[in-house]
Structure formats: C-alpha cells, structure tokens
C-alpha cells in the first residue's frame, strides 16, 4: 500500500473529526447553576391566578353591523395532522355563516401549489395555517392579483389588510409571547423562583422558536434568580425520532435544569418514559398546545402544566375576520384583539380529566360558538 495514501486518509479523518468538534464547540451553550431561589413577586402570583380558570368569553366583542352575504372559502390543509382538525373547525364556522367551504390538501413541501389551486377554483377567501407568506410568496402574490384576501393562523406575519392582502393571523407571535409569559410565570411560582428552564423548540418555525426569547424576557422581568437555555431540535431529528435522545442528553449535560418547557405539545411521543428511564423524574415538563396525549401525560404524572390553547376557537376567529372583510368592516385593531386567544393553565389532574376525552383538546370558552353567532347577527 502507498504510505502517502494512508497518511492522506488519516489526515482527512482527523481533519473531519477536529472540524466537527470545533463546529460543535462553537454551537455549545454554557452550563449554569441554580441560585437556590428567590422571592416570587405578587405580580407573578397575580398573573398565574388570572389564568388558572378556563375563560368564559371570546376576545372579540365588536358585533357586525349585519350578517354577511354568502361567500366561498378554501382552506389549505397542511400535511400536519393538526391541520385536518383545523379544517373541520373552519368548515363548521363558515357553514354557520351559510358559506361554502372547500378543503385543499397541501403537500408537505409545496404549500403554494395548494394556494394556487384555491385561486384557480375562484373562491372568495383563502385561509391557511402555519406557513409564513414568504414560503409561498408567488402563490400569495397571485392571490393578491386575483383580489382574493388571505387569512392565516399560527404564523409570524402581521396582517395589514388591503396594504398586504393579509387580513388575519390568529395565534401568532404575540400569542406565543403571552403563552411564554404565563407559563414562565407559573414556573417561577411553582419553583419558588428557583428555576432553570430548558426551552425545547424548533428554530425552523418562528411560532415555536419565539418561545426562547419569550421565556428569557419573562425571567428578566420577574426572576433574576432563574435561568433558561434553548434546546434546539431540527425537523430532521424530530421526524427521525431523535428528539427524545437530544432532550435527555441536554438534561444529562445540564443537571441544574429542573423545568422542560415544550414550545409545542406534540414534541415527541415517549419523552415521559425516557425521562423516567434516565432517572430524570424530578425534571418537570410543561408546555403549550397540548393534544390528548399530553393531557394524559399530566394525569399520569409525566408532565406538570400545560397552556390550553383552543384550536376550534382559532378557526371561528378566522371566520369572524372573513365576515368583517365581507361586510367592509375589517379593522386591524379588532384583528389584533383576537390574535391572542383565550387561554388557561391546566395544572391539576382534575382539570386534565375534565378535557381528556376531547380528542382535539380544549375547543374554547364555554358557549364560544354562541358568542360568535351573536356577533354575526345569527342569534
């Protein structure tokens, strides 16, 4: 064998290993230690108390001047199972208005083609969730050119009405800020201001990664004895079942972390069992947007608190904005009012058991549909 070849191979491998380690070192985070606790301010206690009970009112209070005339709506059903649930909810809402509904399935990698399909159908309004306009800009521009208003939820764009052709974005980043503020306050109170929080998020999705600064800002405001660190999970790791391992590794490397904040409930099946196997039972798991599995995990003692965000209510909020556009009564201030949903903290087994049988989670405040019907002049 040619010794030079061996040498080159060895250098190549050594270079690759050193390069990887250097890159990894650049992306590493520093370890922290818990302070031993501080004082929980009255403001934090009040904030938590405000969200302890399930709300009874929707956020929108301004009634329409008249019931809107008939329209047709296309909803882009994204590849995530949650979108099917949302589509069903929107269909229920627009049907209530006497409108036509069409659901269009979007491929996971091409949201824009489904939007284009809706434009070709000649619908009056198009709605979609979870995708920023920039990810399907061409199709969005085509909708603008065709005079079809677009409505969104769970993305990071700010609606500007006619100026941008985006007329709604419910449960957006401002909503994420609210979830972070409320749940971080719960952690501060629960820990006695002695919390070290790992914020599990997916940097690719702004509505999830925004939890990281949200938690940080709340800690800066209310708890100088608390710390937080991001736990970034890539979509690839998420889909290949590696996120549990990544989360457990993070907790093993950071034994001071005593709270795991999941920016999205449906992060990883099996996290509870993995934490138990790793002897990390003392780490409290909290999160946002619980599905049925997460509510069950609270009952089983595998998680401690969840911010219940009503999915069905989101789609009725969207339909409400469409009705306002239909009547020529759209107003950015009113839209922003409803962007942050009514939420509450589920932190007891009793509260969890009350909604565990609801397959799609807490739908919204009691009688929220009647409240919307009243706003729309239908009751």
């Amino acid at each position: 064998m040619n010794p030079m070849r061996h040498r080159r191979l060895g250098l190549l491998i050594a270079g690759a290993v050193i390069g990887s380690l250097s890159l990894a070192a650049c992306s590493s985070s520093s370890d922290g230690e818990r302070s031993g606790g501080g004082e929980v301010s009255q403001e934090v206690k009040d904030l938590v108390a405000e969200y302890q009970d399930a709300p009874t009112d929707i956020k929108q209070t301004e009634p329409l001047s008249a019931t809107p005339e008939k329209k047709s709506v296309a909803f882009i059903v994204c590849a995530d199972p949650t979108c099917t649930v949302l589509g069903d909810a929107l269909e229920g809402a627009v049907t209530e208005l006497g409108w036509d509904y069409t659901g269009i399935n979007a491929p996971a990698t091409d949201f824009g083609s489904a939007v284009q399909q809706a434009i070709d159908l000649g619908v009056d309004y198009i709605a979609g969730t979870g995708s920023d306009v920039a990810t399907f800009q061409n199709a969005f521009d085509a909708a603008t050119d065709a005079g079809i208003p677009y409505f969104s939820c769970y993305s990071s764009d700010v609606p500007e009405g006619d100026a941008s052709n985006l007329f709604a974005n419910c449960y957006d980043l401002t909503a994420v800020d609210t979830y972070s503020r409320v749940l971080t306050s719960w952690i501060i109170e629960d820990s006695g201001a002695d919390a070290s929080i790992g914020v599990v998020n997916v940097p690719e999705f702004p509505t999830l990664s925004n939890a990281v600064p949200g938690v940080e800002e709340t800690l800066e405001e209310f708890c100088d004895t608390c710390t937080s660190q991001p736990v970034d999970i890539s979509v690839d790791v998420l889909t290949s079942g590696g996120s549990t391992n990544a989360i457990v590794s993070f907790l093993q490397s950071n034994p001071e972390v005593n709270y795991l904040y999941l920016a999205f409930g449906n992060f990883e099946p099996g996290l509870g069992q993995a934490l138990k196997s790793a002897g990390l039972d003392d780490v409290k798991v909290v999160g946002v947007q619980p599905q049925q599995a997460q509510i069950e995990s609270l009952i089983n003692g595998e998680s401690s608190a969840w911010i219940a965000t009503p999915q069905e209510n989101a789609m009725w909020t969207l339909a409400d904005q469409m009705a306002r556009v239909a009547n020529g009564e759209w107003d950015q201030g009113l839209e922003r009012t409803a962007a942050v949903p009514p939420i509450y903290i589920i932190d007891t087994v009793e509260e969890a058991e009350a909604i565990v049988d609801l397959q799609d989670g807490w739908p919204g405040p009691d009688g929220f549909k009647d409240q919307y019907r009243t706003l729309w002049g239908l009751s």
């Binding site: 064998m1 590493s28 199972p81 099917t84 690839d236 889909t239 099946p269």
Partner: protein, 367 residues
C-alpha cells in the same frame, strides 16, 4: 496427453509479481481497518467522550438509554437487511413499521377487549401480506424493487393516515402492555433483549443455514443462482415477507415502548436504518450482515450521544451529518474493495497471460 503439459507453468518471478501486485497474500491495512471501522469508531467515541464527559457519557444511564432508544430503528435496519442479502431493496420497511404501529393502536382503541398479543399476531400476519404484495409487484410485474417498495411505502402511509384519521393515536394500551417495552432485566432494557434475540436468530439463519447461503447466492448473482437450480422467485417472496414481518415487529415494539401512533414515526426511521445497513455491509465479511449492521448503528448512535452530551443542544445538525457521512463512507469503502478486486483480477489475468506466454516458449502447445 499428460497433465504436466496442461498445467500452467508460472515462473517464480511472475508469481512474485502477481502476489506483490494483487495483494493475494496480505490484505491491505486500509481494507482491514475498513472491515472493523465501526468497532474502531465506537471504541474511539467511547475513549474520546469518556475523557471529555466521563460523568455522563460513561454512566450506565447513558448506555442503557442509547440502546433502548435505538432498538426500534435497529429492528427496522434488520428488516431492510434480509431482502438486501437477496439483492432486493425494501424501502417500505419504515412504512411497514408505522403500519404495524397504527394497527396496534387502532385495535387497542376500537376493540379494547382484544388482548394486545392477539392483535400483534394479526399485525405480523398482515405485514407478511404486505411483503407478499411487494414481492408480487417485483416478481410478477418485473418492477425494480427500489421503485416497487417506494410505491408500497406511500400506499402504506395512505393506509395509516386513513386508519388514524390523520391524527395522533394515544391511550390504546393498558400499563401491562407498556411494561413489556419499558422494563429492565438485570439493568438491561428489555427491548434491547428483544433486539438481541432477533439478531441471533437472523444471524443463525443468514450465516449458518442453507436458506441464508441461498439468499446471499441470489444477492451476489441472481442469474448464476437460477442456473444453479435455486428458486430465485421464491427466495425473493420469502425475503420480502420476512422483512415486512420484522418491520411490523418494530411497530409492535414501539407500541410497547411508547404506545402512541404518529404518522411521522415510521418513515423517519428509514434513513438511519439504511445508513446502518450499508455501513454495516462494509464490516466483517464485507456483505450485508447482522452484527455489522447493529455495531454500525450503535457506533453512530453513541457518537451522536457523545457530541450531544459534550457540546449541548447546538449540535442538532450532528445526527444527519453522521448518518449521511456514514452512508458515504460505507459506499466509498465498498467501492474501494470492488476496485481492488477488479484490479486484482486484471493483474491475475495479465500474470496468467505472461505465464502462458512463457510456458508457450518452453513447452509445445497441446494438440
């Protein structure tokens, strides 16, 4: 005609030349290292991260968890291995795993009276049927296995979404079923023992039975195997059905371990499984093999674990890098071996021609 006249006469100089140039008497160091590279890599990771993070990387918790978390993917890899031995690619193994999982959950939710073990037997039978269907497409319709199983995987995904109504399925199992996937025996995760039993069984069948030898014979040269009297079609059917059953078994193990169905679970395991099989195929016997696959998979898993523990969550990009690099290195090593074999054959032919020429000058040609 005496035998002496037909026996090739090789001059000592030519023999020396042949040996030295083809490497017939000594295996090149790079080939030997390549053959055991997964073990070397695993040992290297253990030493490196054992030094960098002795408190966490060398803890029993880390080893137990890494084995436990990797079991399902490793079973999917073994499912891919069986048809690969016969030269057939089964890209539907991940989807078959997901199908097994969705069926376990669906029956658990809709027919809670049925014992899970009975459902599991039904699931394995259904998965065997899936493998049979794939084989029909490949054997009867002459569709390339890569394309056929890719298509089957999408059909299976559609089936899963239909069964689950495009939702996460949860709460289907009693704790007694989940205990079967989360217990430990002498500190070893019970699911790792399931994997070990499966691996020993597969190793025995593939390496020590006529069936295994026939599979490899078909895999290395199907035409030659056919001419030798082997029933290539039946072996293709058998390998794909076995693969699907093992894929279904992975779904059953996942149902014991986690108990929740999610449509992303199965397909997401395909690439890590493939990387392990191809990396593993460059190990030991330099053909698809059980222990090479498992060692390759866990070597990479421990590498990822070590980096996560040492450098924190900022290394989320490490996992795909490792799997992609492993696949590339494995294929590169395999190509290198093939290249060496070709070069060796060429050199042998050249040496034989030289010898024949030399012998022709010394002895008269046979009549």
């Amino acid at each position: 005609m005496s035998t002496d006249t037909t026996k090739p006469v090789v001059s000592p100089a030519a023999r020396r030349s042949l040996k030295s140039s083809s490497g017939a008497t000594s295996t090149p160091l790079s080939v030997t290292l390549g053959r055991y590279s997964a073990i070397i890599l695993w040992a290297g990771f253990t030493i490196l991260f054992g030094i960098l993070r002795p408190d966490t990387f060398l803890s029993s918790v880390t080893w137990r968890l890494t084995f436990s978390e990797g079991v399902v993917t490793a079973i999917v890899a073994l499912a891919f291995l069986v048809p690969l031995a016969a030269g057939v690619y089964d890209l539907s193994v991940g989807a078959t795993m997901g199908t097994g999982l969705v069926l376990m959950n669906w029956f658990g939710l809709n027919h809670p009276g049925l014992p899970p073990w009975q459902v599991a037997i039904g699931v394995l039978a259904f998965c065997a049927l899936i493998g049979f269907c794939s084989a029909v497409v490949i054997v009867k319709f002459r569709v390339q296995s890569l394309i056929a199983t890719l298509g089957v995987s999408q059909v299976l995904l559609a089936f899963q979404l239909f069964m689950a109504n495009n939702r996460q399925l949860t709460g289907a199992f009693e704790s007694s079923w989940l205990d079967l996937g989360n217990g430990q025996v002498l500190g070893i995760p019970v699911v790792a023992l399931y994997l070990l039993v499966l691996a020993v069984l597969m190793w025995f069948v593939l390496e020590h039975t006529p069936v295994g030898r026939r599979l490899f014979a078909v895999g290395s040269n199907p035409e030659a195997a056919r001419l030798a009297g082997l029933n290539v079609e039946r072996l293709t059917y058998g390998s794909l059905m076995t693969s699907a059953v093992i894929g279904g078994f992975a779904g059953i193990v996942f149902s014991m371990k986690v108990g929740t169905y999610n449509s992303s679970v199965g397909p997401g395991l395909l690439f890590p499984a493939l990387a392990a099989v191809f990396f593993g195929a460059s190990q030991f016997a330099r053909r698809p093999n059980v222990w090479g696959t498992l060692i390759a998979y866990f070597a990479l898993a421990f590498g990822v674990k070590g980096l996560q523990l040492t450098f924190g969550p900022g290394t989320f990009w490490i996992q795909p890098l490792f799997q992609g690099a492993a696949l590339l290195i494995a294929v590169a090593l395999a190509s290198r071996v093939v290249g060496q074999t070709r070069r060796s054959r060429q050199l042998q032919r050249e040496a034989a021609a030289d010898d024949a020429q030399a012998a022709g000058e010394a002895t008269p040609p046979p009549r």
